[in-house]
Symmetry: C2
Subunit: 230 residues, 2 copies
């Protein structure tokens, strides 16, 4: 090979954009032209540009060619790990406690959220996750029993619901939302803080083939920060 790698090409492209040789909105040369310039195969240029397009730096369209994005949309990526992992990665000792576990008919707001039947049976579980015995995360979860056969016989004393679902209902789709919320009484008590304190909350709705499996709200203890590199 010529020693040209797709990463080398990416570096060069980024350099040219930074140096304003190619400016936001500009059309850059075609793959064929760049392959000729760099003395490599088109496939190599293709991979380089395709990946840059995935990050939002370039925009590509057949026939129209490749442009530098006019206003680059940064794509921030966050790792959503199993909570135990998250805590252990921070050097904490993980422990969890189940505060409540009940089989109930879905209340109306959960029916609406999860698009459940009026008579749908759910498992409602509230769990506290601790790091070094300090409250770390308060979990309020609703599970659609119909969607997860086998959950009746699961034992959540050793493995948390969180982890059990990951293992037994993998690769599900859904949405995740981040928001801020003033602590209510239940949250304040669980997280050992005061009512009204601003909490970082993530809500996740998980589906397998259009069917809602679980809705979970995770409220982090005050001071939590979710960070990523750009």
């Amino acid at each position: 090979m010529s020693g040209i790698t797709y990463q080398r090409i990416q570096t060069e492209v980024l350099h040219r954009i930074r140096a304003r040789v190619w400016r936001p909105g500009d059309l850059i040369p075609s793959e064929v032209a760049l392959a000729a310039e760099f003395g490599c195969a088109r496939a190599t240029v293709n991979r380089a540009l395709r990946e840059l397009a995935e990050t939002g730096i370039l925009e590509r369209r057949r026939k129209a060619g490749t442009r530098v994005s006019p206003d680059p949309v940064h794509k921030a990526t966050f790792d959503i790990a199993v909570i135990r992992r998250e805590i252990e990665a921070l050097g904490g000792v993980y422990r969890h406690a189940i505060l409540q576990k009940a089989h109930v008919l879905a209340p109306s707001f959960i029916q609406a959220l999860m698009k459940l039947d009026i008579h749908a049976e759910t498992l409602h579980i509230r769990t506290l996750h601790l790091s070094n015995d300090q409250p770390y995360l308060y979990e309020d979860r609703w599970i659609n029993m119909a969607a997860v056969p086998g959950i009746r016989s699961a034992d959540f004393s050793r493995v948390s619901v969180n982890e059990w679902l990951v293992q037994n209902a993998p690769l599900s789709g859904g949405e995740i939302t981040f928001l801020a919320k003033n602590a209510d009484e239940a949250e304040a008590e669980a997280l050992d803080t005061t009512v009204g304190k601003a909490l970082f909350v993530t809500e996740r709705l998980t589906r397998i083939k259009q069917v809602s499996v679980t809705f979970v709200r995770l409220a982090y203890a005050p001071g939590y920060r979710m960070t990523t590199r750009l």
Copy 2:
């Protein structure tokens, strides 16, 4: 070609994982074996598996082979667009107002955050972004004057600082953090809410070649939710 696409292979792999043919932790066949099975080139299998590995579903190591991730780390991706775009995408009419603009020596906490010199000059700008004339986002930004030549002559009445920086200092690296915060007086007043209200906040530190360019804190009006598909 045989009609086999890398996407078809990805679908098949996901199906096998869901069907528990391949379970978390399991080693799956090598690229060569899968290429033979699917009747396609190894490069096609490679792309399929490589992309799945990027999403965290598979783990690959030379010689060791490819495994189904024992506890899959979901990667959630968020688009960080220019604020004007974000508002317009939601159907709002964008407007912004500069609440304060001052050239000042960096206060100590900013010095520390941005790793600035004691005598570093900064531009401190507080901006309110509005959607349909309703407060949407309160921006508190510090800019390292030394890192952005040309900013002295910029006019921020038409183009917001946000947008100016994107256009003039593109492709910078840095970190972004999400957190929840009780509104202080300045935030409450700007966002037309009450002190103590939980606000969703993002903080961004932007660098070009190790040099801090800008630190910005964005406090969203109450009720803001940041959502993405998984």
